[in-house]
C-alpha cells in the first residue's frame, strides 16, 4: 500500500511538472495539444477550456496561492478512506456531493438491508451472515450497521409502504362494493371482441374490476372505468375452465398477500429480536477449524487456501525457553 501511495504521488508530481511548467527548450509561445501556451506556463483561455484533465487547469479546479489548480471536494478523510479521493462522490466531485460525510453506497446498502430484513423476518440478515462465513471470515454481518440511520429508515419505509398498500387495498374494496360493474364496463368487452375479431370464448379482466367466482370481492380490485374499459386489461380465454384458472392464479397471489398482511408486525418484531440477540444474548459466531491432511486451517472460511503439499505439524517444545528482548520483531 505504501509503495502504491508513493508511486501515485510520484506520478502526480511528474504530471504536474510536465504540464504546468514550460519546457526550458521551448520558445515563449508554444503549442500544447494544438493550443497556445504562454511563457508563464499557463495555457491560453481556449486551451484551458479544452484541457479538462490537465492539473493547473481552472476548468474544474480553483486556483490556489501557489498558482496550481486543485480539484474541489476531495475526500476530507484523505487516503484513510481509500486511495481514490473522489470515490465518495462516485468519481464525480463536480456533481456528486456528500454533505453528511457519509458514504452513499454504505447508506444505500444499509437502507436496502433494513427493508429486506424487515420484510423477511430477518432471514436476509442470516443469508448475509452465511455468505460472509462462506466467502470471508466469521458468521457475522460486517457490511451492514443496524444502528445506522439509513438501516432504521429502511425499516420504517418498509413498514410504511406495507401499511399504505394494505390501506389502499381496503379502500379499493370499499369502492368496489358500492360500484355496479355494468355501469363501469358498458359494452367494453363486446367492443374488445369486435376490435380483435374474437368470437366465442370469454373476455377476462386481467386485473379484477370487482371480484372473483363465487362473488368474493378481489383483494385489490380496480373499480374504475379506465380499468374496466381499457383493452390493456382484457384477455381472451377459450373456455370457462381457462377463465376460472386465471382467477385461481389471482386468488393464489392474494393468499400470499394475506400472509404478508397478517404477519406485518410479527416480521418487524422478529427482526428486532434477531438484532437484539445478535448484539446481547448469543454469540452466533461459529469457529470453524478444519484439519486437512494434517494442516489446520485458520478458520478463514471455504476460500482459505489449502497448500498442495501438507506441511508437517510443528511440535512445540514446552520446555524450550525464549531468549528475546521481549519487543516483537
Amino acid at each position: 500500500m505504501v509503495a502504491d501511495r508513493q508511486s501515485r504521488v510520484t506520478f502526480l508530481a511528474a504530471d504536474l511538472l510536465s504540464s504546468a511548467q514550460p519546457s526550458p527548450t521551448s520558445s515563449q509561445k508554444t503549442r500544447v495539444g494544438g493550443f497556445r501556451r504562454h511563457a508563464s506556463g499557463r495555457l491560453s483561455r481556449r486551451g484551458r477550456g479544452r484541457s479538462m484533465f490537465t492539473p493547473g487547469s481552472r476548468t474544474c479546479a480553483y486556483k490556489t496561492t501557489s498558482g496550481l489548480g486543485k480539484w474541489p471536494n476531495k475526500d476530507p478523510m484523505g487516503e484513510m478512506g481509500g486511495i481514490n479521493l473522489y470515490c465518495f462522490a462516485l468519481n464525480c466531485p463536480v456533481y456528486g456531493i456528500d454533505p453528511l460525510g457519509l458514504s452513499f453506497l454504505d447508506d444505500a446498502a444499509n437502507f436496502s438491508a433494513g427493508v429486506g430484513d424487515n420484510l423477511t423476518f430477518g432471514l436476509t440478515r442470516v443469508g448475509r451472515k452465511g455468505l460472509n462465513w462462506m466467502f470471508s471470515d466469521g458468521y457475522e454481518d460486517p457490511g451492514v450497521d443496524p444502528t445506522s440511520g439509513s438501516y432504521v429508515a429502511g425499516e420504517v419505509t418498509e413498514v410504511t409502504v406495507e401499511i399504505a398498500v394494505t390501506a389502499g387495498g381496503a379502500s379499493l374494496r370499499h369502492v368496489a362494493r358500492l360500484t355496479v360493474r355494468e355501469s363501469l364496463e358498458g359494452g367494453a368487452r363486446t367492443t374488445f371482441r369486435r376490435a380483435n375479431s374474437l368470437s366465442g370464448g370469454f373476455i377476462h379482466h386481467i386485473n379484477p374490476i370487482k371480484g372473483h367466482p363465487g362473488g368474493a370481492i378481489a383483494k385489490y380490485p380496480l373499480p374504475f372505468k379506465w380499468a374496466a374499459q381499457g383493452a390493456w386489461n382484457m384477455k381472451w380465454v377459450p373456455s370457462r375452465a381457462a377463465h376460472q384458472a386465471e382467477h385461481a392464479k389471482m386468488l393464489a397471489l392474494e393468499a400470499v398477500d394475506d400472509l404478508r398482511e397478517s404477519t406485518l408486525l410479527v416480521r418487524q418484531a422478529a427482526n428486532q429480536i434477531g438484532l437484539y440477540l445478535d448484539g446481547n444474548v448469543c454469540d452466533w459466531s461459529v469457529d470453524v477449524s478444519a484439519s486437512v491432511k494434517g494442516v489446520e486451517s485458520d478458520g478463514g472460511g471455504l476460500l482459505a487456501p489449502i497448500p498442495e503439499t501438507p506441511t508437517p505439524m510443528t511440535t512445540i517444545d514446552a520446555s524450550a525457553t525464549y531468549e528475546g528482548s521481549g519487543e516483537g520483531d
Partner: protein, 175 residues
C-alpha cells in the same frame, strides 16, 4: 430488553387487530355479493332507458330459421318461440345473446338450466328448464356464482332490450 418486550407485545396486539379486521372484511365481501338464502339475484345492467321494442330488435337482429328446434326439456313458451323462429338473434358474429346452436351443449355447472346464448363478455345466457319460469339468467364468472346464475331480465323481451342497450354502449365506445 424492555424495548424488545414492548415490540413483541405491540406486534401480538397489532396482528390480532389486523386479523380481526381482515376477517370482518371477508365477511362483508361475502354478504355483499351472495344472497342469504343462496337465491339468484337480479343482475345490474345498463341504465339506458328502454327506448326500443323487443319486436323491433327481433326484426333487425334475427336470422330466420328454416326448421323448428327439437329440445328435450320444457322451456317457457316465449323462449321456445324465439328459438324456433331464429337461428340467432344478434348484431354480428361477436355478440349473439340468443343462439340456438348453444342448446346442443348442456350447462355443466347447473343441470336445471340450458344455455340459449352468450353475453358480451362470453358469460352463458341461460333459461330455466321450467315452462313457468320466464326469467333469463346469466352465469357470470367474475361477480357471481355460476352454480347459482343471476337473473338478468324477468322476461325475454326485457332481455332483448338490455342486449340492445349493451350493443349501443359497445358501439359508442368503439367511436
Amino acid at each position: 430488553m424492555f424495548y424488545i418486550i414492548l415490540i413483541v407485545v405491540l406486534a401480538v396486539i397489532g396482528n390480532f387487530l389486523i386479523r380481526r379486521f381482515l376477517a370482518k372484511e371477508k365477511l362483508k365481501d361475502k354478504t355483499a355479493t351472495v344472497s342469504e338464502a343462496g337465491l339468484p339475484e337480479l343482475a345490474e345492467t345498463s341504465s339506458l332507458p328502454l327506448s326500443v321494442q323487443a319486436k323491433d330488435i327481433v326484426k333487425k337482429w334475427g336470422k330466420p330459421s328454416q326448421s323448428k328446434i327439437q329440445i328435450g326439456v320444457s322451456l317457457h313458451p316465449r323462449v321456445k318461440e324465439l328459438l324456433d323462429e331464429f337461428e340467432y338473434i344478434g348484431p354480428d358474429n361477436y355478440f349473439q345473446p340468443i343462439n340456438r346452436s348453444f342448446i346442443d351443449k348442456p350447462f355443466s355447472e347447473n343441470k336445471n338450466f340450458i344455455q340459449i346464448g352468450a353475453w358480451g363478455d362470453g358469460s352463458e345466457v341461460l333459461a330455466k328448464c321450467d315452462a313457468l319460469d320466464s326469467c333469463i339468467y346469466l352465469a357470470e364468472i367474475e361477480d357471481g356464482d355460476p352454480k347459482h346464475p343471476s337473473i338478468i331480465a324477468r322476461t325475454m323481451d326485457e332481455f332483448l332490450v338490455k342486449a340492445w342497450n349493451l350493443n349501443q354502449d359497445s358501439l359508442q365506445l368503439r367511436k
